[in-house]
Symmetry: C2
Subunit: 244 residues, 2 copies
């Protein structure tokens, strides 16, 4: 079960109390990047911090869409189910990513924490009011939505037309690129999700994912460094396999 907290004030190294958003490491990536320091106060006033353990549900498909979120640490998995249990993971969200941008009354997908994660939660009504008062936030959100749309189309190309090998290669490069965008190392890649998550994201089974990882490892294209860490000795070779 997620834990909901009011946002604590953060401390600078010298002990000075500062606005929590000002200390937020991923603010530049999030919606908040367009707000001035004094405007952040309005955001904080409607915001709750949410701590999640691995596997915690943030919301389920069909739940009333009362809240919007911003991932601040960890990783979140977005998924949809067919009635018989087949699952499609439609995306992984990382710090800075926005969650819940479906202007319907209900969520059309489920969201769960992959590893330990934290999120900023905004009541939808309050955020919508804030948005209409700050068109630049709306513009920022439109930009983020456009990017998500482009990502979704890349994923459709992957799901519809790529082989298992190409899918895995593309997946690893995606993780690498997203880590880099958040200021982390691009190369030894952190892979926090399980085989089941990866399989459901790539439209494969866990067995095929496992076999394909083995195949890439034996081909010298990946070097596992631990349970959740993979090194790419030759990123260009992986790029060649990924295709697009």
């Amino acid at each position: 079960m997620p834990r909901y907290n009011i946002l604590p004030t953060a401390k600078r190294r010298n002990g000075e109390q500062v606005h929590p958003c000002v200390a937020c490491e991923i603010r530049e990536l999030a919606v908040c990047s367009v707000l001035e320091s004094h405007e952040l106060d309005e955001l904080v006033s409607i915001l709750t911090s949410v701590d999640c353990d691995p596997g915690d549900a943030i919301f389920y498909e069909g739940d009333p869409a009362d809240h919007l979120f911003n991932v601040t640490s960890g990783a979140v998995r977005i998924s949809k189910l067919l009635p018989d249990g087949r699952r499609q993971v439609t995306g992984f969200l990382f710090p800075g990513d926005f969650l819940g941008l479906a202007f319907n009354e209900s969520y059309t997908y489920s969201a769960e924490a992959v590893g330990s994660s934290t999120l900023c939660r905004f009541p939808r009504r309050d955020l919508e009011r804030l948005l209409s008062e700050h068109p630049k936030m709306e513009r920022r959100l439109l930009g983020m939505a456009s990017n998500e749309l482009a990502t979704a189309q890349d994923q459709m190309l992957l799901l519809g037309r790529k082989t298992a090998r190409e899918k895995l290669a593309t997946f690893l490069l995606m993780l690498s690129a997203r880590a880099e965008r958040r200021g982390h190392d691009a190369n030894p890649i952190d892979v926090p999700m399980t085989r089941a998550d990866i399989a459901d994201y790539l439209g494969l089974t866990i067995e095929t994912v496992s076999r394909t990882f083995t195949e890439l490892r034996k081909g010298g294209l990946i070097e596992p460094q631990g349970a959740t860490n993979i090194r790419l000795p030759d990123p260009e070779a992986v790029r060649d396999i990924a295709g697009d």
Copy 2:
């Protein structure tokens, strides 16, 4: 080759000259729905009408993204290619749908007319200026983008987890629902696209699409009424097959 025209004024039945957007049949579905009559003038001043024959390219993946579009008649196909020619159709657009919403410098996909189609074309710079002056247009666009995202996720579920049979059934119901939303009949469905388009949209081959159509026809689930028309004798049965 598409033909570019300045937007002609439209005539009411009594011969009165009226603003072309006022006569536009699909205005309620498009971005334009949020604008007052006098605000439409600003839109018309930056707009060019584009007529396309079947197969005409509207733009290609990689082209500089200088224009945005609104489909006003016909149908448009959005697609991406892999270097070796494998193609994924990521969506079909119908009257009222917005095209080009990728705030990058280049288009990340190609757009082509499926049948004879017309579009409203806006220079990107001009439209962006207009958007920043009319936050309600921006809000409308954000809403449309959210809907597209939800559609994209449905399509990922289809591509990653559905069988050929389920894919075809879902596809037909999608066409039916979209026709209805535009005020057309939901049941004898107009299917203007080729087997190749359908195959590349559903992540299948043309042969599998053809075989599956035959199978559905022999099962009494669809009744072809002509080259581009299909009747569903029992829509509920099709819904059962579609799954979600």
